[in-house]
Amino acid sequence: MSVLSVSGLKTHFFTRDGVVRAVDGVDFELDRGEVLGLVGESGSGKSVTGFSLLGLVDPPGKVVEGNILFCGQDLTTASQQHMQELRGSRIAMIFQDPMMTLNPVLRIDTQMIEAILAHEKLPRKVAWTRARDGLAQVGIPSPEQRLRAYPHQLSGGMRQRVAIAIAFLNNPDLLIADEPTTALDVTIQAQIVHVAQTLCRERGTALIWITHDLAVVAGLADRIAVMYAGRIVEAGATDQIIDHPRHPYTVGLLGSVPSANRRGQRLAQIPGMTPNMLSLPNGCAFQERCTRGDELCRGDVDATFDEAGGYVRCFHPHGSEAGA
Amino acid sequence: MSQAAGLLVETPLQRFRAEFRESKIAVAALLVLAIIVLLALLAPWITPQNPYDLAQVDVLDGKLKPGSEAFAGYTMWLGSDGAGRDLYSAILYGLRVSLTVGLAAGFLALVIGTAIGLIAAYSGGRTESLIMRAVDIQLSFPAVLIALMLVAILGRGIDKIIIALVAAQWAYYARTVRATALVESAKEYVEAARCLGLSHARVVFRHVLPNCLAPLIVIGTVQTASAIALESTLSFLGVGLRQTEPSLGVLISNGFEYMMSGRYWISFFPGIALLVTIVSINLVGDQLRDVLNPRLKR
């Protein structure tokens, strides 16, 4: 059985200037221990998708439609109380900027122990031991000492390790990682990816890795879903997406990633700017920036599925003309 | 949306007006303020008596309740004070004094503070740190204390109060102008203007000063309101204006002694006038801050 099954999820923000359809009909599934890379530009709705899963969308935003089945139970109808119990124990989340996610005026031990005690009645001493072991597991040297530190006394990479340790304290079934490496140096990025990956594998935790960087998820994810303007425009197995992208947007994204085996070639750019979420065109949101856009693209696009369960939402996908 | 903006080029003033109008409260406050100023200006023509012309004041009219009829035949809608002055007339004349003091002090503090701030920003070095030191010291003390200190030195009277108020307020302007001027003069267009061979004065007045205008206007309104409040406070304490220059604060102070005997109106109505004036200036200032602050632009 899948850990998570999202269908038709719509999260809208009711701002003064109009309704922003940040997430507008997103579907995906996730099995136990599976890693999903959720890729898209800033503003494509990938982070909001993550927050929707946790029930942490703040007003004026609201989940307006769709189902989020977590271990067979619909989270969109769950009570506040119930969501609070799930958060941090069965679904955990880590954030982009490790400078900002840890409370600057509380010590690490306070922040770790409270996360344990929020979900389990334990003696403080036991919780403290678990917190210490948690730090050791994410590769932090002399954890006892670190527990007494304040966040600003640790480096950025260390802080993100602490955040990961906190996320794993209660052995979650699902971890949502919202661009956790974006703010870090490249060498540290790799370490953090490795730590998260190892822990997920050991514990069978499903992972949603949200990023704008296809290169990061290429080596990490089992499957990739590409988001554009609130929708998943293409999804499939990682190899499939990287080697044979079909949506023009995915093609564009891949073209703009510098890579060693294309030295000397110009980096491709996607023309135009991210669309204004307040006034999206009818039909495909990418049509104005797309080299293949035409009249047809103004109509509603349905997803076309392939044999492996991947799909693309485009009238003129790459690879189809070659196959035809 | 972008097309509409392209066709219809708004002047900054038009946009400013449109944005200011977004807050109904601010517009109402501006209207009230205009009425208050008008009433104060027209006081000699719309009041039944000149409360400081002894020939027109009758002691027998003293301490009359609101709505009573004066000996001279007109109705004292707001009652009369201990000396028999019609309160309505006294308030309008008092408004004149209060507004004059507040505006004069506000304007002088603005000019002096701006000049000092610009000098600090442009001279740099020891002069700057000396000036800013003085500003810091001054700002760490509440305005009341500075004003009291000066009043203790200078004594009472309109001119002395204005000096005391300016002394208590110039530092706010100086600090803001210096900060803005430093930011502005670091920008490239000032450099460019200098390279064109423009004189210092021209750079300051044509380029730097206009950019300080927005924060100055905001501080100016708020500080004028607090100058009026401060003056009335000093006058109430008996160390501000004299009885011969009756501001609203003096009127309130006069009514204080009758308060215990239940003759509330002598202090109450001048207070209301003071309150409405100060609150409406502050409301206008609040909206100005929102409209003029580029950081809050949506």
Binding site: M100 | G155, F236, G238, I252, V279
Partner: protein, 307 residues
């Protein structure tokens, strides 16, 4: 500073005119002048005064004939009591209201609170004081209008906090003095809450599944309290200074009322001594707040250790 204050105050007016019986003869006037030290040239008076400051002597009050410093110290406890109580009032009333307005900014009640805080800033304190007397003392007769009530000694501190009568006398002036600070605390708290609620550490705390009470009570409050406490510490000095107004209205026998009385009676040693003492107060308060801040904020603490 001392120079400005001393010479400045000396220019106010001639205290001899005020103090001496108009019908007194020339000999009597001269005797008084000599007794007060007013016959010496002004620079000599200043030297005298400087020497005095060194040994804590500001000269004798013309009116009371007592040392000015002693007079002020005698009035100081009442003022400190008033300022402290209103500081506490500002915290007790301001923080919950600001918290509410910050957490639910769209609610009508929040807007009401914010409108009220603008009023609190705009209203002239002295007039509100008068209106309070009118309403609570004259009209309703609930509270005594003026003066300080009975005091009692408890834990070695003489204060009106320990008696019913003292409390009833204290309530109105303290609230009056607190008014501006309540508004200030409301605004600071609200702004802090609004800013902190969008911070990732709050979202992360919620994502950990903490109870909202803990998120707000610990994660949020601990962050916003640091600036609030700092500002309030600095405001304590302002409260002492502002008590000049409140004490005059409510006839509270503190050093503020003493200052105004002395100003009106041209009792310049007392005025000078008051100004000197209050300046000293400000310097001390700034110092204490600096220390307090570094104790409260772990980020500052570390920097100090590192250097």
């Amino acid at each position: 500073m001392s120079l400005i204050v001393f010479f400045g105050v000396n220019v106010i007016g001639d205290p001899v005119d005020m103090l001496i019986n108009p019908e007194a003869d020339q000999a009597e006037i001269e005797r008084t002048i000599r007794a007060l030290g007013l016959d010496k040239p002004i620079h000599e008076q200043y030297l005298y005064f400087l020497k005095g400051i060194g040994s804590g002597d500001f000269g004798k009050s013309f009116i009371f004939g007592e040392p000015a410093l002693k007079l002020i110290l005698h009035h100081m406890p009442a003022t400190i009591e008033l300022a402290l109580v209103s500081l506490i009032m500002a915290i007790i009333l301001g923080i919950p209201l600001g918290l509410y307005a910050g957490l639910f900014p769209e609610r009508r009640s929040s807007r009401l609170i914010m409108a009220g805080s603008i009023l609190g800033f705009s209203l002239p304190t002295f007039w509100v004081g008068l209106m309070m007397i009118m309403l609570f003392a004259v009209h309703l007769g609930w509270l005594p209008s003026t003066g300080r009530g009975d005091t009692a000694v408890f834990l070695g501190i003489e204060s009106s906090l320990w008696t019913r009568d003292g409390l009833s006398h204290l309530f109105m002036p303290a609230l009056n003095l607190a008014l501006t600070n309540i508004s200030l605390v409301i605004r600071l708290t609200r702004a802090g809450v609004r800013e902190a609620m969008h911070q990732d550490y709050i979202k992360f705390a919620r994502a950990k599944g903490l109870h909202p009470r803990r998120v707000i009570g610990v994660h949020l409050m601990k962050n916003i309290l640091i600036p609030i406490i700092t500002v309030l510490g600095l405001e304590f000095g302002s409260l002492m200074a502002f008590s000049v107004v409140t004490e005059s209205i409510f006839a509270w026998p503190g050093m503020g009322k003493l200052l105004i009385d002395s100003l009106l009676q041209l009792d310049r040693p007392v005025v000078v001594a008051y100004l000197m003492i209050i300046v000293l107060f400000f310097v001390v308060i700034n110092l204490v707040v600096d220390i307090l801040y570094s104790v409260l904020d772990p980020r500052v603490r570390l920097k100090d250790q590192g250097s």
